[in-house]
Symmetry: C2
Subunit: 152 residues, 2 copies
């Protein structure tokens, strides 16, 4: 069976936003350690708040320490044949008990409330580049945000 | 609905091997650049050959260059609520056209043949640690291989 024809940029953006705003959405979070060049990768819950990604995690976790040190993460949402990949920079780090509207928005979307969990942080990650593709015929045109700005 | 009870170590190992040997299986491959601490993450096809992970990719890709430089990758198979996470070291790098039995085994499982693709490599990655978990109640006991040896 031939694959579907490649989607337009506008369609990919609409589909990506539908994935990023879905309830109970998970995200793969890849980070690098500053010292040993060691890659790390974990699945976490995600919220999409004011065009930024919000994750919640223990401040002592490898992922939190890597992001604190390097300021960067690469995120993937969706199954491997319908991916949204986001290169993001750390914008804000908020103690869980004091995260205000970011915390409220996270709890609404993630359907999980870490605000009373000792030692948890909310990290707000600002997308710099977003790519979206399904099969090989969508590799061309996969970049839908560059330098923090939506294309097209 | 309460989650299923946590699986035994033996069950997790059997389930992980079923995922790793499934036809047409994809894997998330996280790597780190040696210079800029930048995390990278892409989905690729996977084969499981003689207790090692085999991936095929262009020698010039970010992932191939990061693995060549650091010797390491962290891999994730499965959806985010049924994951197998593998910390692996580079064991072998084989030109696609000259990959022998490794290449044959890859083509059989991945159902894709990169052996005639210019500039492709097969990388054989040796697992050092494997973790397998579904929901939060399986975080305890998630390590099923340590220092390259299956536990239990």
């Amino acid at each position: 069976m031939p694959p579907d024809p490649p989607r337009s940029g506008a369609q990919r953006r609409a589909d990506a936003l539908a994935q990023l705003t879905a309830p109970h959405q998970d995200v793969w979070v890849a980070t690098a350690s500053p010292d040993a060049d060691a890659p790390h990768l974990v699945p976490l819950s995600l919220a999409w708040v004011d065009e930024q990604v919000v994750i919640a995690l223990e401040a002592t976790s490898v992922t939190a320490r890597n992001i604190a040190a390097t300021g960067r993460a690469r995120l993937a949402v969706g199954p491997t044949r319908d991916v949204v990949v986001i290169d993001a920079h750390l914008a804000q780090s908020l103690p869980a008990a004091d995260a205000g509207e970011v915390g409220q928005a996270y709890v609404r979307q993630a359907e999980w409330d870490p605000r009373q969990s000792d030692g948890y942080l909310f990290l707000v990650l600002a997308p710099r580049r977003i790519q979206a593709w399904r099969e090989a015929n969508e590799i061309v045109g996969r970049t839908i945000m560059r330098d923090g700005a939506w294309l097209g």
